[in-house]
């Protein structure tokens, strides 16, 4: 099947695809179209297992918020709670209104929860028309979103033969149908190739820049770090961190210095005396945390110790992420307000 050449149909500049926010909805002036999401005390239990545990966070307009956590952390469950699909504790409001009470949900909030949520033989176009009907979204808009996600050439086909990436894009098309001011996307990058991920990133960024609200989940930190301005990180159903992406990175990227010296024993003792932590000694080499490269160099020079290697290593974001989510229960919750209080 000609599923591969479909990628070429992705519009080259996704920012062109984002319409400016509608104005003059009536009431509150310039901010009328911006939507703040507040999730308070989200809780979901499956039998004995607490899948989402008293989760509270906000998603602000004008930026991409990443919803990050390892597989099984409770991201999908939390999103389903937010949309009133699952019964559970807590409350989520979109500008003060719970999802179920939105007057025209598709025009307010676009959601992608599962990539392959379609009937295999109902054509992509009919699938969209069906889901567009309750909000009286025109057939023209259906063709527009098909074009936008690069599926126009297969619009008449049943999605049975769609790759995971194409399925994700059909799901994204559903979310975009009502030209909503909020997007909630569950792992939309799964199955996309690097080109598709790039496209998604710039699309979401221009979507957010137009003043709209985006919550996008992933279990891959590297992917999220590039896509999101803000990260809500959860592990085992609980909030671990709620920080701007760069603050999350600097907070969690642990620096260490790898050192190699023929007089390694002597140097290690000196460094430990200075309060450093020495890890993984191996022959002449060892790793130091707690002192930076220059301080270690000074110590060595002061004692006349020869250095064969002195190099700073920054733990990868993935390591930081693992560290951050490793033992969710044992780490205190860190939020922006904690930081500014410190």
């Amino acid at each position: 099947m000609s599923t591969d050449n479909v990628l070429e149909a992705l519009p080259s500049d996704p920012s062109q695809a984002v319409k400016p926010l509608r104005r003059g909805r009536g009431d509150a002036g310039a901010s009328a179209d911006k939507c703040l999401i507040k999730a308070v005390g989200l809780t979901k239990r499956f039998g004995k297992k607490l899948a989402v545990d008293d989760l509270t966070f906000e998603v602000h307009p004008g930026q991409v918020t990443g919803f990050l956590g390892p597989n099984g952390a409770g991201k999908s469950t939390a999103m389903r709670l937010m949309l009133g699909l699952d019964g559970g504790g807590g409350r989520t409001t979109f500008d003060g209104v719970p999802y179920r009470e939105l007057r025209d949900p598709a025009r307010e909030v676009g959601a992608l929860l599962e990539a392959k949520a379609f009937h295999p033989t109902r054509s992509a176009r009919n699938h969209l028309r069906m889901l567009a009907a309750p909000s009286r979204i025109s057939d023209r808009r259906v063709d527009e979103v098909l074009e936008l996600v690069g599926l126009a050439s297969v619009a008449g086909k049943g999605p049975k033969s769609f790759s995971l990436g194409m399925s994700q894009r059909l799901g994204l098309a559903v979310a975009l149908l009502g030209d909503p001011r909020v997007l909630i996307l569950d792992e939309p990058a799964n199955g996309l190739d690097p080109q598709g991920i790039n496209w998604l990133r710039s699309f979401l960024q221009s979507f957010a820049e137009s003043g709209r609200t985006v919550l996008v989940s992933s279990h891959q930190l590297a992917e999220m770090a590039q896509m999101a301005d803000h990260l809500v990180v959860i592990g085992r159903g609980r909030l671990i961190s709620d920080l701007p992406t760069d603050e999350f990175e600097s907070r969690w990227s642990l620096k260490s210095v790898s050192v190699q010296s023929p007089q390694s024993e002597q140097l290690r003792r000196l460094l430990i005396d200075r309060g450093a932590t020495v890890q993984s000694p191996h022959g002449d080499a060892f790793v130091v945390t707690g002192l930076d490269q220059a301080q270690i160099g000074d110590v060595a020079a002061g004692a006349g110790i020869v250095l064969h290697e002195l190099a700073t290593r920054v733990a990868s974001l993935e390591e930081a992420f693992l560290e951050a989510t490793a033992d969710a229960q044992e780490h205190p919750i860190r939020t922006t307000s904690d930081l500014s209080a410190a």
Partner: protein, 278 residues
């Protein structure tokens, strides 16, 4: 609610199975109508206990055998339309489309009502078309096969026709209820077929044994058995029917019994639908 109805209309129309099942219903019903028309005389003779075969006078079909042709849809269309009902929720749970449907129509009562109305109307349309085709068969093939005076202008025949449409609609709703409750297409399809075709007949035979004599009448109230009375031309017991399968329930009583069972199934499903996770 209007939007949800439009959505349901698109959902039904854009499923191949809807068209297949409806098309097969029409074809099979027409074939059955032809068969019932050609054998109208024989079945009338059997029912009335008249002599048949070589030498005996030819028997013409009576009004009951005429009505039987018009109710041909009760044979297969009921089950096929029941499948359309099963798929109403069954497909959405099987393929995960229940999620985008509930995000586009977050009020569960609206979504469910739309499906109910959509499936019931579709089933009614299929039922009416089946009857129309049966009528065409009577006009085209029936000439000279029925006794004088037998025809469409008959009160009880009109009731059988109405009962046929109601029965077809109730079957579509029982299918819908099974798919909704079980959220599992194979399980719902199995029940839809096994209950009327195997379970109830077996129960009726069991209930008719002497040891259960005092319960013998209870078999009449088994839901599908009772529902079948909707298309009964007469409640007079037919001597050609084995004792275990005779039924003297009036069409109204039978129809209400079946309707009550369907209603209970739908209410339980609706309550669970509001409570369960999507």
């Amino acid at each position: 609610m209007r939007g949800a109805l439009v959505q349901e209309w698109i959902r039904l129309r854009t499923l191949r199975s809807t068209w297949w099942l409806s098309g097969v219903s029409l074809v099979v019903t027409t074939m059955l109508a032809v068969a019932f028309t050609l054998t109208a005389g024989t079945s009338t003779a059997a029912r009335l206990g008249l002599p048949r075969g070589a030498g005996s006078p030819a028997v013409l079909g009576d009004q009951a055998s005429f009505a039987l042709v018009l109710s041909s849809a009760m044979q297969m269309t009921t089950l096929l339309v029941g499948l359309i009902g099963v798929f109403a929720f069954g497909h959405d749970y099987r393929h995960g489309t229940i999620l985008p449907m509930l995000t586009s129509v977050p009020r569960r009562n609206s979504l469910a009502s739309a499906k109910l109305v959509g499936v019931a109307l579709w089933a009614a349309a299929v039922g009416v078309l089946c009857i129309a085709l049966s009528a065409v068969v009577l006009v085209v093939v029936g000439g000279g096969r029925f006794a004088p005076g037998v025809g469409f202008a008959d009160g009880r025949t009109a009731r059988v026709v109405g009962g046929t449409v109601i029965l077809v609609v109730l079957f579509s709703l029982i299918g819908l209820g099974l798919g909704w409750l079980l959220r599992n297409v194979p399980a719902a399809v199995s029940l839809l077929f096994v209950l009327p075709v195997a379970v109830e007949p077996i129960l009726r035979v069991l209930l008719s044994v002497d040891a259960l004599h005092s319960l013998a009448g209870a078999g009449r109230f088994l839901p599908f058995t009772a529902g079948g009375q909707l298309v009964a031309y007469t409640t007079k017991v037919d001597p050609s029917v084995p004792e275990a399968f005779r039924n003297d329930l009036s069409p109204l009583a039978g129809g209400l019994t079946f309707t009550a069972v369907v209603a209970v199934l739908l209410v339980i499903s609706a309550v669970l639908f509001r409570r369960r996770d999507a």
